[in-house]
C-alpha cells in the first residue's frame, strides 16, 4: 500500500472562479484609498480637477485679478490641485 501526501492530491480548480478572483485582486490594487470621500476612478478624478480648475479661474477673474494677481497663478494652482487629486485622490 502506498502513502499519498495530502499536499499531492490535486483538487479540481474552478478556473472561472480563479480568473474572477485574480481580476478582482488586480482591480483592488488599482483602487487605492485616497483622500476623496467617494470612490473614484481616474476619469472621475480628472473630471473633478477640471470642475475645480474652471471654478477657481472664474473666482480668480472676479476677485483676485483686479487686485493685480495674474490668471497664470490660478492655472498653476489648478494644475497642482489636479495632479494631487489624480495621483492621491
Amino acid at each position: 500500500m502506498t502513502y499519498t501526501d495530502p499536499k499531492d492530491i490535486q483538487t479540481p480548480v474552478n478556473l472561472e472562479e480563479f480568473e474572477e478572483e485574480s481580476r478582482q485582486s488586480s482591480k483592488d490594487a488599482r483602487r487605492q484609498p485616497g483622500f476623496l470621500p467617494i470612490e473614484t476612478n481616474w476619469f472621475d478624478r480628472l473630471f473633478i480637477s477640471v470642475v475645480i480648475w474652471v471654478a477657481l479661474s472664474l473666482v480668480w477673474l472676479r476677485f483676485l485679478e483686479p487686485a493685480g494677481l495674474p490668471l497664470m497663478i490660478s492655472n498653476a494652482i489648478s494644475i497642482a490641485i489636479a495632479i494631487t487629486i489624480i495621483w492621491k485622490g
Binding site: E39, L58, R62
Partner: protein, 291 residues
Amino acid sequence: MHSNRLGWLLLAPTLVILFFFGVVPFFYVLWLSFHQWNPFAANPDIVFNGADNFRALVFDAGFLASLGVTLAFVFFAVVSELIIGYALAQAFMKDFPGKAIFRTIHTLPLIMAPIIVGSIWKLMTTPSIGIIPSLLDSWFGFDLNIGTSAVAAFTVTVIMDIWHWTPLVTLTLIAALVSLPSDPFEQAQIDGANKRQIFWHITLPMIMPAVLATVFIRLMDALRTVDEVLMLTGGGPGSATRYLGVHIFKEVFPRTNYGYGSAISIIVLYLTIVACWLLYVSLIAPRNKKG
C-alpha cells in the same frame, strides 16, 4: 472578437451622428468662447481674445442677475414638479371613476411645443383679454399684470413650467411605482410600519433611481428654458424673467455677439454638469463610499 466588431458596426451610425451634432458643435462653441466675433461689427473677423469673454462675464451685472433668477426658477419649478408629480402618480395608482380620461387630459401639455405653451399662457394672462387676470380680479380683487409686476411674471413662468412638465414626472414615477415588488410593503405592514415610515424607508429608496433620472432631465431642461418664457414675457418686466437661455438668445441673435454668447453657453453647460454631478454624488455616492 467577432461580436465586438459587430457591436461597434451597429453603434457606428449613432456615434457618427453624435460626433457631428454633439461633439463638433461643443468644441466649436468652446473655441469660439475664446474669440471675439461679431460679423456686423467694424471688424467682422474672428479674433482670439484669450479669457476676455469670461473676464467680461464675471463682471456682467446682467448675466449675474440672469444667473440668480435662473437658479430660483429651476429650484421652484423642479421641486414643485417633483412633489406634484409624485402626488399625481400615487393618485393614478388607485382606481377611481374617469381615471383613464383624466390621465389622458393630464398628459396633453407634454405633447405641446414649448412655443405653443408660451402662446397659450400669454393669451390666458394678458390683463385685458386673459381669463386668469379676469377670474382673479372678480373672485379675489387681485390685479395680475405680468407686464408690470416682476413677482407675478416670475411666478407665472414657474407655474407654466410646472403645468407643462409635471406630466413627465408623473409618468416616470408611475412607471417606477408600478414596477415595485409588493413583498417589502406587505412585510412592513405586518411589522406595523405606518405610511410615513413606509414612504421614507421603502418607497423612496426603491424609486430613487427613477426620481434622480427625472430630476436630471428636468434640471437640464429648466436651466436652458428659452422659448416658453420668450413667448410669454420676453424676459421682462425689466430682467425679472431673463433666464440664462433668454439672456444668451438676446446676446447672440439681436446683438450678434457670438463670442460672448458662446462663453455664456459654456458656463451654462458647466453649471448644468456640476449641478447634476453634485446631486448624483450627494444622493448615490454615499452608498458606495470607500471602506
